[in-house]
């Protein structure tokens, strides 16, 4: 073979990143890009006997129980989208926040926070918002980029707001209290959400065309009409109560809650007399399509992490960090930088798998709180969802957005929100008590 192992892990790390970038621009599907790089490095480094590693990782990845909530959330979103529920909900929301420039975007963020409390997985929420909120905001004349940014950034909050699968996996990996992680994430998550809201309001205040208020005639309706319109939000609210209730009353596990969501939405469409075979068929096909995209991207990244770890990538990163002779806080800073860079190319499961075993012991030995670092990690993953070229939030949205919205357009919409995320991350780094105050770990 080509004996890639001769070049050493450092050069190989750069070559990997380089080849990913090169393959990305040829227009090869992302899923194949990461998978192909994993395959070539497995072949070149270890020889043909190592190829089963790739397929084994594909098998293990699709067999992961927590992934079940993705198709269910997508199915829920597709059905909602095909029924009139979403449109009615947004019409009502507009009536009540109509006078405020950007009001509907702010309401979308509240919906996002609500969804975040229902699920721990990110893909589902962005797809739900992408199907539910984005077309409606566009319909109401909102600026396209502001709308896209709101949906992606808001939808990403699902992994910060408890229950959060990122924090659970971090807690299991680092062996720290998950309840303390959940408590610690509340203020930083609120901080992020407030920054988003402030940004939307300021942009729309400066330029009301970005989030136009409803026309006067639409707002000047009688109280009776308003009350009648309110009826249309009864069903969505019931569905939300049904899903949230099933988690918090101990009826369903976090993953099963997604199933409750599908059942709730199907019942709503029956009540509205909208359920039809054709609609169900279309929703299911869309679910298959969206899941195919999302899961196969994860598959490629997962294979890449397996190969890189086998090559000794974990040891390499560790030695780089331990070889630094700098103040502890700069080590944290460098770890954050590594996470940001990895976030450009990988999804969070891969990053957690790769870096947590290396970072957490170092953090503990430096005397920092692993709870605080867990929050920094999950905030950093918020950035990774949005950052190009590998931004899962953008991919999720692209999978359901109207076709004229290109991936490039989505990424261009996201950078102001990435800046907000970086500022929030900096704040929590500088003032650990933002995270540690609530669990009483100051």
């Amino acid at each position: 073979m080509f004996e890639l192992s001769q070049m050493g892990i450092e050069a190989a790390s750069y070559l990997m990143i380089g080849s990913i970038l090169l393959l990305l621009i040829t227009g090869l599907p992302l899923a194949f890009v990461t998978g192909l790089v994993a395959l070539v490095f497995a072949l070149g480094w270890f020889g043909p006997m190592s190829i089963p590693l790739i397929t084994t990782r594909i098998y293990s990845f699709v067999n992961e129980y927590v992934l079940i909530s993705i198709p269910m959330f997508v199915l829920m979103a597709s059905i909602l989208d095909r029924s009139g529920i979403a449109k009615d909900l947004y019409n009502t929301l507009r009536m009540f926040a109509g006078r405020l420039p950007g009001g509907v975007a702010v309401q979308t963020l509240f919906v996002a926070i609500f969804l975040a409390a229902m699920s721990g997985i990110i893909g589902g929420e962005i797809i739900l918002l992408g199907l539910l909120a984005l077309p409606q905001m566009l319909r109401l004349g909102y600026n396209q980029r502001l709308s896209i940014g709101t949906v992606c950034a808001g939808g990403s909050l699902g992994t910060m707001v408890p229950p959060s699968i990122v924090l659970i996996i971090y807690g299991l990996t680092a062996n720290v209290s998950i309840s303390e992680l959940f408590l610690a994430s509340v203020i930083p998550a609120s901080l992020l959400a407030s920054l988003y809201i402030a940004y939307i309001l300021i942009r729309c205040f400066l330029d009301p065309k970005m989030g136009p208020p409803a026309p006067k005639e639409e707002l000047d309706v009688s109280f009776a009409e308003k009350a009648a319109q309110l009826k249309s939000i009864i069903l969505p609210v019931l569905v939300a109560v049904w899903v949230l209730g099933s988690i918090y009353a101990g009826i369903a596990s976090v993953t099963e809650a997604a199933c409750m969501g599908v059942v709730g939405v199907i019942i709503s469409t029956i009540v509205r007399r909208e359920l039809s075979f054709a609609m169900m068929k279309a929703s299911l096909k869309q679910t298959l399509n969206t899941c195919g995209m999302i899961i196969w991207i994860g598959i490629g990244a997962s294979a890449l992490v397996g190969v890189y770890n086998l090559m000794g990538g974990n040891r390499f990163i560790q030695s780089v960090i331990l070889g630094l002779d700098i103040a502890p806080i700069f080590i944290v800073l460098i770890m954050m930088a590594i996470l940001v860079v990895l976030g450009l190319f990988m999804d969070w499961i891969g990053i957690a798998l790769l870096t947590m075993p290396i970072f957490v012991p170092i953090i503990v030995s430096l005397g920092y709180s692993p709870i605080w670092f867990g929050i920094l990690f999950s905030m950093n993953m918020q950035i990774s969802y949005l950052s190009p070229p590998f931004g899962p939030a953008a991919f999720y949205l692209k999978s359901v957005a109207p076709p004229h919205i290109s991936l490039k357009e989505i990424f261009l919409s996201l950078w102001p929100f990435i800046l907000l995320q970086i500022s929030a991350l900096g704040l929590v780094m500088a003032f650990p008590s933002i995270a540690l105050w609530l669990p009483g770990l100051n």
């Binding site: 990782r57 299991l172 976090v254 974990n314 798998l353 075993p357």
Partner: protein, 319 residues
């Protein structure tokens, strides 16, 4: 500084688990004891392949070895389940070590894994697992109707046979499911881990010392590589693994006791210690399940015969 043998071993432990650090110390010690000839990179669970795929990976040589609970491979042969976690058989890890080292356990395990291309070196253990529960469970009868998370395999069947309602849940779901009350109790990990992850904050009736489950951790490596090693390196590996087993058990016991002291400071937590007669009753029920499993494959039968003979010889089982 270049080692003659550079191996990647994958552990079944999470990076932050207390016992992962102990395992890494073992890997380092092998380097020193072999005078730098062997360099083991011990990576945490799922780093290279998923936890239940390491058997195949070591067999074909993708990984050179693993530290794994044999129960993960029960789907390949039920004998793995019996060697991995023979519910109720052991009341202390030292009894299990005795079987593995001197009672024919090593031979039978090798008979099982050699065809898969693996050589078994020795066993370690995390000790007897504690049990987390939201309601007080003081006897076998109290298990009736308890919705509990139980891991794959024999443990689940034993609990089903005492009328508990075992729920299938992955480890990552246990925390919220227990917190919100989807389940009442869970077979999860050792006391110190349960305490560290905060489970006792809302599941206030842990059963300790445990009795229901004591997973074996098997240290094995690729057979081709093993066969090519010099006798002295083989001895380095065997002796170091034997010592590693004791090291791990002793240090985890200490951690458990520290965690118990910490838990006792919280007066709302009640640590329940089952009386001997209830433990015996549970063991009796578990033993019935072994026989059922023994019928499922020739190797399982072999394991059953060997373990029973050993237990009888040690006066741990009535003939």
């Amino acid at each position: 500084a270049d080692a003659k043998y550079k191996w990647t071993f994958q552990s079944g432990a999470q990076a932050g688990d207390s016992f992962f650090a102990i395992q890494q110390e073992w890997a380092k010690r092998v380097g020193v004891m072999s005078q730098g000839e062997i360099d083991i990179d011990l990576v945490p669970v799922n780093s290279v392949v998923a936890y239940n795929e390491t058997l195949d990976a070591v067999g074909v040589g993708i990984l050179q070895g693993h530290i794994a609970d044999p129960s993960y491979f029960s789907g390949k042969d039920p004998a793995f389940a019996m060697l991995g976690n023979l519910v109720g058989a052991w009341s202390s890890p030292y009894q299990m070590f005795g079987f593995m080292e001197y009672g024919g356990g090593k031979e039978v395990y090798n008979q099982l894994v050699n065809p898969y291309g693996l050589q078994f070196i020795g066993a370690a253990s995390t000790g007897v697992e504690s049990f987390v529960s939201k309601t007080p469970i003081r006897s076998v009868e109290d298990f009736k109707g308890i919705k509990m998370r139980a891991p794959e395999g024999m443990v689940q069947e034993v609990f089903a046979s005492i009328n508990a309602a075992p729920v299938n849940l992955p480890g990552s779901e246990v925390y919220t499911a227990l917190d919100k009350g989807v389940i009442d109790a869970a077979d999860y990990s050792v006391f110190s881990t349960n305490q560290a992850q905060g489970l006792h904050k809302f599941a206030k009736y842990p059963l300790f010392p445990g009795f229901h489950s004591m997973p074996t951790l098997a240290v094995s490596m690729n057979k081709n590589i093993w066969d090519g090693l010099s006798p002295s390196l083989k001895e380095v590996l065997s002796v170091s693994v034997r010592e590693f087993g004791y090291d791990m058990v002793q240090r985890l016991e200490m951690l458990d006791k520290q965690a118990v002291v910490e838990a006792k400071k919280d007066s709302s937590i009640e640590i329940i210690n089952w009386p001997e007669e209830e433990r015996a009753k549970f063991r009796g029920i578990a033993q019935k399940q072994w026989k059922k499993w023994a019928e499922r494959s020739p190797m399982a039968k072999e394991v059953y015969t060997k373990v029973s003979a050993y237990l009888v010889s040690q006066d741990l089982l009535a003939k």
